[in-house]
């Protein structure tokens, strides 16, 4: 079952950071980002998640930490309102507590968000590698969010001590570190992973991300490799299914 409070963190802490790579690698996104220099701060409730998206010189930076003076501040009284904004349906009330006149910034962000969705849902071969890289990062960050905040998954993840790495045999990687008391996600390979889930290529990884693949069968055929702590793999797999439920 989707927990709206957790979902709001998935959006802010796992999905929005995709803007960084998107504006770095996608020409259209960087052109959009170049239209405005400034920052937008998202706040959910009085004690909910926060996140700042800063656009500067055609690049996006996404940080959980508050910038001292954001140009635009958006306050969502309830997490459902933020989630509806990302879902594109339902009541989407945001109280602009700052920068009400900076419409251009909001429009730019809105266009960037549309572009991100376009890339993430694209079937084009040109954007395939970027999409895979975006999904790898999103997946690891979302797992970390669930491990920290999802009431059920938090219990399961608390038994894990070690690092899970996702990688595409010929390309990029991301990893989740369960060993430091608080679960952290990072892009790139881990120095000493305990469980490695490796995909033969990006199309296969994206099909797995879209839940179109019999993973165990592909593993036995050698197209996916599962190595190391398979128990950790089982627990991570539960999170992957949950991410699907959250972001459907």
């Amino acid at each position: 079952m989707v927990n709206e409070a957790v979902l709001s963190r998935v959006y802010l802490e796992a999905v929005l950071p995709c803007l960084e790579l998107l504006t770095l690698r996608d020409t259209r996104a960087s052109q959009l980002a170049a239209r405005w220099n400034g920052s937008i701060r998202f706040c959910v409730g009085l004690s909910g998640p926060r996140c700042t998206v800063e656009l500067r010189d055609s690049r996006a930076t996404v940080t959980p930490a508050p910038l001292p003076r954001p140009d635009v501040g958006l306050f969502f009284p309830h997490e459902i309102m933020l989630n509806n904004l990302f879902r594109g349906k339902g009541l989407q009330i945001a109280l602009p507590w700052k920068g009400l006149t900076k419409i251009k910034g909001l429009l730019t962000f809105s266009k960037l968000a549309e572009r991100m969705q376009e890339v993430l849902e694209s079937k084009d071969r040109e954007t395939l590698e970027l999409r895979a890289e975006l999904m790898l990062g999103l997946m690891s960050r979302a797992i970390a969010v669930l491990a920290r905040h999802d009431p059920d998954y938090k219990v399961q993840a608390s038994h894990l001590h070690g690092v899970t790495e996702f990688r595409i045999r010929t390309g990029s990687a991301s990893h989740v570190d369960f060993s430091g008391g608080t679960t952290k996600a990072s892009v790139g390979r881990a120095s000493s992973p305990d469980f490695i889930l490796e995909f033969a290529d990006s199309p296969l990884f994206l099909d797995v991300a879209d839940d179109k693949v019999d993973v165990l069968a592909k593993a036995c055929l050698g197209e996916i490799s599962l190595k190391g702590d398979l128990h950790m793999g089982q627990i991570v797999n539960i999170a992957l299914d949950k991410i699907g439920e959250y972001l459907l």
Partner: protein
């Protein structure tokens, strides 16, 4: 000749098109590195099997337990075949259900009566229902990391289990009497039964034997609270003591579940119980189309007879001791630290200085390529068909496996 697995992989490609996972469940080869483990068996005899590529393996999984006398055992198989020629799945029960029940009540010391089924999960599910029926309570206590089948209440399936399915299941760490007492206190008057394995045999971890006071203490607490004490002896049953693993560890449970080694590979299971649960059992409706099949019962009769004749638990214990000792010595000779746990007949080895099983996976893959079939994270099984020569050959292969682990990991 180095082992190759071309036909296994070709067959698997076909399997993946028509069977989800290709090979589902515990037989999935997903634990292995493709190309270093067999996927499909062609034949088996004694303690060995041959895969579809013609590679030969000394098998330490024994079909995950059932093969206690070894594959294609002549006496058991002949008993099965003889009965099958007389007809299977008859519309009424056969004398064999009576003969076998009598034999089991004479053999297992906590068995005053027997109910038959097909798989271990049938027996554990019947036990849960009887505990609830007997006590008129709802809750069942299970051990964390314990395994009792894939049915929803047992909680091992990642798909399709609802919170309602598990609402009356309480989990405690195996072997922790204090935790059990706390649960009893929190759910006073609500707990129907507790189902534990006779010793703890989780996957991905060392096996743990009970201390001398554990089971007597559990018996005392269950009696004090009017709780049905159930031993799931599906995995360990018949290998430790023919009178039951409860007897082996000095405990008389109210209900005990058996399957696996009961008929040396033929599908049959049994729930046995004490006198005080007989009337509740008499009111229950447990049935399956194949639960009274006579050929499997004939196989179980022959298996029991043979296990008694050769004192199977003693044989597998001695073989297991040789294997455990040998593995420990060979690992130490390479400067490797291994942890070998569990009863000798059902041993498990892991590398003591790792939790991610990477050394174990490499070791098992190397052993497989030298004709020895081990599992990296599940306990192993000995059969009476293993011989000291098989163990010696195994240790030579293991020696090479340890050498490769040492080369790759350094320690």
């Amino acid at each position: 000749m180095p082992y190759t697995f071309k036909k296994s992989l070709e067959l698997f490609a076909r399997a993946a098109r028509v069977i989800p996972q290709g090979i589902p469940g515990h037989l999935t080869p997903v634990i292995t590195v493709p190309g270093s483990y067999p996927y499909f068996a062609a034949k088996a005899k004694g303690c060995r099997f041959w895969d579809v590529d013609g590679n030969e393996f000394i098998d330490y999984m024994c079909g995950y337990g059932p093969m206690i006398l070894g594959y294609a055992h002549e006496k058991v198989d002949e008993a099965y075949r003889k009965q099958a020629r007389l007809g299977s799945c008859t519309s009424i029960a056969t004398n064999l259900s009576v003969d076998l029940a009598e034999e089991i009540t004479k053999t297992i010391d906590c068995a005053d009566w027997v109910m038959f089924a097909k798989n271990g999960a049938d027996a554990t599910s019947m036990a849960v229902m009887l505990a609830r029926g007997f006590t008129k309570r709802d809750k069942i206590v299970l051990a964390e990391e314990g395994y009792h089948g894939t049915q929803p209440w047992a909680g091992t399936n990642p798909v399709g289990i609802t919170p309602t399915d598990r609402a009356d299941i309480l989990m405690v760490p195996w072997g922790d009497v204090n935790a059990f007492c706390e649960v009893m206190a929190r759910h006073k008057g609500q707990v129907a039964g507790v189902m534990f394995t006779p010793y703890h045999h989780p996957v991905f971890a060392d096996q743990r034997l009970p201390g001398p006071s554990y089971w007597p203490e559990m018996r005392r607490i269950c009696d004090e609270h009017g709780i049905v004490l159930i031993i799931d002896d599906v995995r360990a049953g018949w290998r430790l003591d023919l009178r039951g693993s409860g007897h082996y560890f000095g405990i008389r449970p109210d209900l005990a579940c058996y399957s696996k080694a009961m008929a040396n590979g033929y599908a049959i299971s049994a729930l046995v119980g004490s006198e005080r649960l007989r009337i509740t059992a008499s009111k229950a409706y447990f049935a399956g189309s194949f639960w009274c099949n006579a050929p499997e019962m004939a196989a179980a009769m022959a298996c029991l007879e043979e296990m008694k004749a050769i004192d199977a638990p003693k044989v597998v214990k001695e073989l297991g001791e040789t294997l455990m000792k040998g593995l420990g010595e060979r690992a130490a000779a390479h400067g490797l630290k291994v942890s070998i746990t569990g009863p000798p007949a059902i041993p498990f080895m892991k590398f003591a200085n790792e939790t991610n099983f990477m050394r174990s996976q490499l070791f098992c893959g190397e052993c497989a390529s030298r004709g020895v079939f081990f599992h990296p994270h599940h306990n192993w099984f000995l059969s009476t068909a293993h011989t000291p020569q098989d163990i010696a050959q195994t240790l030579d292969a293991a020696d090479e496996g340890f050498r490769v682990v040492k080369e790759k990991f350094g320690g």
